[in-house]
């Protein structure tokens, strides 16, 4: 109890301190419009063969705390209020303090979920949501067709436990693929993204479940629509200093446009347009426009400012070889069933 009081006091202090701290930057923000214009004018260095240099490690770690969809109360506001930003800063400072505690308290309680050291943390951000278009920052409505499909999928699962077979797990849990957007949307850990360029090609690597997209820049067309894959077929070109990637030929009804490939699955006909623009030596603006008229009533766009972090190398992510979790979850479900059967038999 005493610890709780202490924690409350610490939180209150942190809030007060960060409120005081943000006063100065807030005044500075009034002059940010020219700074933005300056950003757009940034010219990235060129590679020996003339392409803009986008190479490097661009993890999404800073965006972990930014919600995908905007709080409806924020309306069309793209940045949080100074008070909200102070809260985000205070939370980050609290997390940093908690992380530094070196000893486990004698009476500390544990839960089934993993402890804090499993999580990566980034710098607090001002943006209100990752979705920026429609202007309300919300994912558009599903089409009638998509709603029907979702209802059918739900019905098919009726009376079917969540762990009856490996196929009940997500493609992520099965170490197959997080899909084209699930591979880059920020999650609790392993948010590494790397760009490597060569003449005529760009390669983008994603850390978790380790996808690599190799993108030809030679103007060649997408293959026949009969050829489909989880990550689709990506083709790129330059518009000024912006790398524009159009991806088609997806396997439909597999991954969604959500964290780790969750959310409503997109269709095979989705056209994804991604733009990579270096806005400063250490900043990249990344946008992705999802155009899938079979699934959403209108196209929508996600925007993420990514910060260069040379200290965030991608480590190999060989998932399947050690995926004990699959076995453990299925075994857990069988144990639950056996216990339920035994309880039933006991009552008779």
């Amino acid at each position: 109890m005493r610890q709780r009081v202490l924690t409350s006091l610490m939180v209150l202090t942190a809030v007060l301190v960060s409120t005081l701290m943000v006063t100065v930057p807030v005044i500075g923000q009034a002059g940010q419009a020219p700074a933005k214009a300056k950003k757009a004018a940034y010219t990235p260095p060129k590679l020996p063969w003339g392409d803009p240099d986008l190479q490097g490690l661009w993890p999404g770690t800073d965006l972990i705390e930014v919600p995908m969809q905007r709080d409806a109360k924020a309306g069309e506001r793209t940045e949080v209020t100074p008070e909200e930003f102070a809260q985000r800063q205070a939370k980050a400072e609290r997390t940093a303090e908690n992380d530094k505690v070196a000893y486990v308290a004698k009476d500390s309680k544990v839960g089934i979920n993993p402890p804090g050291y499993w999580l990566e943390h980034g710098r607090p951000q001002k943006i209100t949501s990752l979705v920026v278009d429609p202007p309300n920052g919300r994912i558009p409505d599903l089409t009638d067709q998509a709603k029907q499909k979702a209802a059918q999928a739900k019905q098919a699962k009726q009376g079917h436990g969540p762990n009856e077979s490996p196929e009940d797990q997500s493609l992520y849990d099965r170490c197959i693929s997080r899909g084209v957007m699930g591979s880059i949307l920020p999650v609790i850990y392993n948010n590494g993204t790397q760009i490597v360029q060569g003449p005529g090609y760009v390669a983008i690597r994603y850390e978790m479940i380790h996808e690599t997209k190799i993108i030809p820049l030679d103007g060649s067309p997408h293959p026949s629509s009969n050829i489909k894959s989880y990550m689709g077929d990506a083709r790129g070109h330059w518009e000024g200093n912006t790398l524009v990637i159009e991806t088609t030929n997806f396997l439909g009804d597999k991954n969604g446009i959500g964290l780790n490939g969750g959310g409503t699955p997109h269709s095979a006909d989705m056209v994804l347009t991604e733009k990579w623009t270096r806005t400063a030596p250490d900043m990249m603006e990344y946008t992705a426009t999802i155009n899938d008229p079979k699934t959403w009533v209108q196209p929508w766009t996600i925007r993420m400012p990514l910060r260069l972090n040379p200290e965030f190398p991608l480590y190999e992510y060989a998932c399947h070889e050690g995926n004990y979790a699959m076995f453990n979850m299925l075994k857990g479900a069988r144990a639950d069933e056996a216990a339920a059967e035994a309880a039933k038999a006991g009552k008779k």
Binding site: S18, P59, T61, Q89, A92, E93, A96, D99, K100, V101, A102, Y103, V104, K106, S108, K109, V110, G111, I112, N113, P114, P115, G116, Y117, W118, L119, E120, H121, G122, R123, P124, P162, Q169, Y172, D173, C175, V187, I188, N190, G192, M208, L259, N309, P310, E311, F312, Y315, A318, E321, G322, N323, Y324, A325, N328, M329, G332, A333, R334, A335, D336
Partner: protein, 143 residues
């Protein structure tokens, strides 16, 4: 070197879980599907192996029961990539190192546990959290 399942502690653990459950997408997979929230365990043992595998690491320990019997346990740890970024490496946890684990046992009753708290015998955390990516050059949040 003992194993103490505690019903009271498990009840508290369950309460804590309820509050944690609101956190989005906690980990790679559903921990509640793997572990039994009613079987809290305290394990003190000696490391025999650490498996650096994805999606999550596993620490193997030998636990000596009060009657002298040795049982082997597997404890689920963090993702290898995040541990590496924290500066932890394959030489960080040697065979023979004594550790204590507070967690919950697998639902099927086998000797597997989640490692909610993994500490050295003096209570020092085996894996510390990090204010940033764990990289030395990262100034952490708010800087």
């Amino acid at each position: 070197m003992r194993r103490i399942p505690s019903v009271a502690a498990a009840a508290v653990g369950l309460l804590l879980n309820v509050s944690l459950a609101v956190s989005p997408a906690w980990a790679h997979h559903a921990f509640a599907a793997e572990y039994d929230g009613k079987k809290q365990v305290h394990l003190e043992g000696v490391v025999t192996q650490m498996e650096w595998i994805n999606p999550h690491t596993w620490i193997h320990i030998d636990v000596t029961e009060p009657d002298g019997k040795v049982t082997s346990w597997m404890v689920e740890g963090g993702s290898p990539n995040i541990l590496l970024r924290r500066g932890f490496n394959k030489g960080s946890l040697e065979k023979g190192q004594k550790i204590a684990v507070d967690g919950f046992q697998a639902k099927d009753g086998s000797n597997r546990a989640n490692g909610s708290n993994i500490t050295y015998p003096d209570g020092k955390k085996l894996f510390l959290g990090s204010s940033g990516t764990g990289a030395p050059a990262d100034p952490g949040p708010g800087k």
